[in-house]
Subunit: 256 residues, 4 copies
């Protein structure tokens, strides 16, 4: 029986500001990535999010981003050297581990956020610095990597446990890269189409590109979003379709 | 043979701004308390400071403060509840632990900074929240408490390893409290007087108050400052005087 | 014909985070107080808010708060001296004036936010520092003061134009102070009761306290909130009831 | 008689952290550029700096930077659109104007800081956004532009008063650009050589490039640094050499 994980970015509220629909997404996801205070989240939100995840038995990972709360970690900081990236990432993982300790829970994985992830997909030194930080903090932490990105090699070089991630609602180019958000059709909107597509991705271990090409792609976890009411519906549809197709939905690493 | 530790607050530089004289103080101190990015310090400074400490064999502790970089953690946040204090403190300890992991070193202790320490000295709920955070993150971490403060009971209640701290250069009231900085004579300036006084404190296990009263006081670690060139001289004088008096100067907890 | 202003705090979104219902409140309010980036808001939100206000012909004021984005300016900074308060307030007023200049609009007034307002209501030195900052930046700016607070004397001493503010949905003590939010009945919830009460406040120039005592109170502007859907309904009800009672609803100072 | 201005970046201290040698530089410079709290400085430092400048009769300008206190405004934010740049710059100018009003002084000019300046030198849309912000806030403010950069055209298009700036201690390429700091010889160190070179630049209206080519360059103001003791000496040497050569050293715009 095939198994796949559904991961979602949670804990992105900040101080007095709410973001996302954590209560709904925790019902659908099997793993959540928790913002660590640099692009979103704060120590109180982190605790609340880990408590929520523990109550639901959902695995918790760190979701480190650039230090840019005003820009929500979506602006690249090209000038950072690998040592600074290591420090940036390690700091955030450790912070979440300690918050999880308050709750009596464990961090299982790490997934880079926003612009840090984008840069790491293309720039090997950044990808390696992230892997290096994870390894130093705890070599058993799972590195969530975007399929076909520089992060894959970086994780392999560091000998880290890895899971490959695809996006439920994004179109792919023939070379396996995501279609840029600036192009039409980059983001899929139809819940039924998305659900069918995800089932095929997991069942076949392949993605169909925009031109119809079938690209082999390892799929351990599927990123689902909850930013809009429609997104929650899509996520629920994906989960239901996977189950209906006999695919088990479960975390890639069970929290202990 | 009596033993005492000399602790110093380090790693308070921030981004492009330098603070303190870490290179000089690391030669005198046996334990250092590292700012964790909330009132001073940042992830790069933290790493540099832990590297420095490791190279010198000096023990490293977390020095958590309020989230107030602009005010250097010196302004009290009275409105914070115990749960928020726990989160605040745990976050910072975990962040430093992860940075230390990058360096291959261990965090041995925790000492609250500035206004957080002042509030915890007087407000039991804050002192207990700090102790609770330490215990959750790692019950083997040593809690550095100001002698005669609410932190002592909080540490005892949490059953944490504790060391009692006194100040080399501060005058004490008859009740064992520090003389307020607003009163004349609160801060001692004469290196010779300070050195003699410290030797007596450690040798006798007692402090002489401003009125001449001898107050029993456990003295495990002495806080030394390095903010001014004169302060470094005082610190060196204290270290030398202790050795000359046959008192061993060593960390209260050796880093492994 | 009697006239009263309805003022509302707007522009409290921050970066990627939304807050409040600015589009709805701009339809009800005649003056808006714009967060200036210290407790909420940012330079982009400020511009958008001023553009919205200009399009609706609603007056725009600065809403300066403590430098505490994480705590939304709701935590008091007791340690700040009057000179620091002056700088804090002047900085924020000037920032909004320049943003308004980009839009081709003018700032007409200043109202302190959250904990800064609370402290200024009770501590004369803080109230005077706010008044002093306003006067230095532009002595024609209207100082919005809470009726019966220390801000009234501070504004008079500085010879600033002033408007007295009351709250539509808050209960008052016999001495004219607001009933503490910690006490039951501090906040009124019934739209009809609130609307009737406001009409009476403006018509009679008096508030009825929790014990039924009639307290004379100058009422130039009424603070309305829009944080919840219910709050918007209350605000609309207040506006309608005032009009029905023949009271003109208009800004205390028309933007030019 | 020829005249030239000496400008220096001041007020870069932040909270508890000191930076630079403002007291020494204010004796040498005729115009100072004040950090506005985004990359350095804060409202208290701004006031202190304006007070210092007023006492010495030195002109004061805004020195806006990217919102990046941790990176001291030295990291480019490529993702910002022109409208955001306008808001960023206007906010900071207005903030300084209001602080100057507290002191009874006037802001005379605007000079972009660090990475914002670098990006504006090469990217016309950023340069135009800066000019547009200045013009909206006050069209009489002088725009300090790097000679031969995109800022020149942007200032001309906005019809702003402009002064052209050169660097005392930087080498120039044949095309009039600064030699990159990554290349050897980019920064000159010899006080005597620098002083002679500056006199020639102002006297001849030309710079000699690294290959010996004479490049015509308008020189209204010379940027002098004070970050190191050596830098202060260089700045003093430049001032003395200019006077000895009969060139008047005076602000390009006298503060009123």
């Amino acid at each position: 029986m095939k198994t796949v994980d559904l991961n979602s970015d949670l804990g992105e509220s900040f101080g007095a500001w709410q973001m996302g629909n954590d209560a709904a997404m925790i019902e659908v996801a099997t793993s959540v990535n928790v913002a660590c205070g640099f692009h979103g989240g704060d120590y109180d939100t982190m605790r609340k999010t880990v408590e929520l995840a523990k109550a639901r038995g959902v695995s918790v990972g760190a979701h480190p981003g650039y230090r840019d709360i005003h820009g929500f970690g979506r602006r690249p900081f090209y000038g950072m050297n690998p040592s600074e990236i290591e420090n940036l990432v390690a700091y955030q993982i450790g912070a979440l581990q300690a918050i999880a300790a308050l709750v009596g829970y464990k961090v299982t994985h790490v997934k880079a956020h926003g612009a840090l992830s984008n840069v790491a997909c293309e720039e090997e030194s950044t990808a390696r610095a992230i892997a290096s930080a994870i390894k130093a903090v705890d070599p058993n932490l799972v590195f969530v990597v975007l399929a076909n990105s520089k992060m894959v090699q970086a994780g392999e070089a560091a000998n880290l446990p890895m899971v490959h991630e695809i996006f439920a609602d994004r179109a792919y180019e023939d070379n396996g890269n995501l279609v840029s958000r600036k192009k039409p059709g980059a983001v899929l909107r139809d819940p039924k189409q998305i659900a069918e597509r995800v089932v095929r991705m997991v069942g076949d271990g392949a993605v169909v590109s925009v031109t119809g090409k079938v690209i082999k792609m390892r799929t351990d976890t599927i990123c689902i979003h909850g930013d809009t009411p429609g997104a929650v519906e899509i996520a629920r549809g994906v989960r239901k379709a996977l189950r209906d197709a006999g695919i088990e939905v479960a975390p890639f690493r069970k929290a202990s």
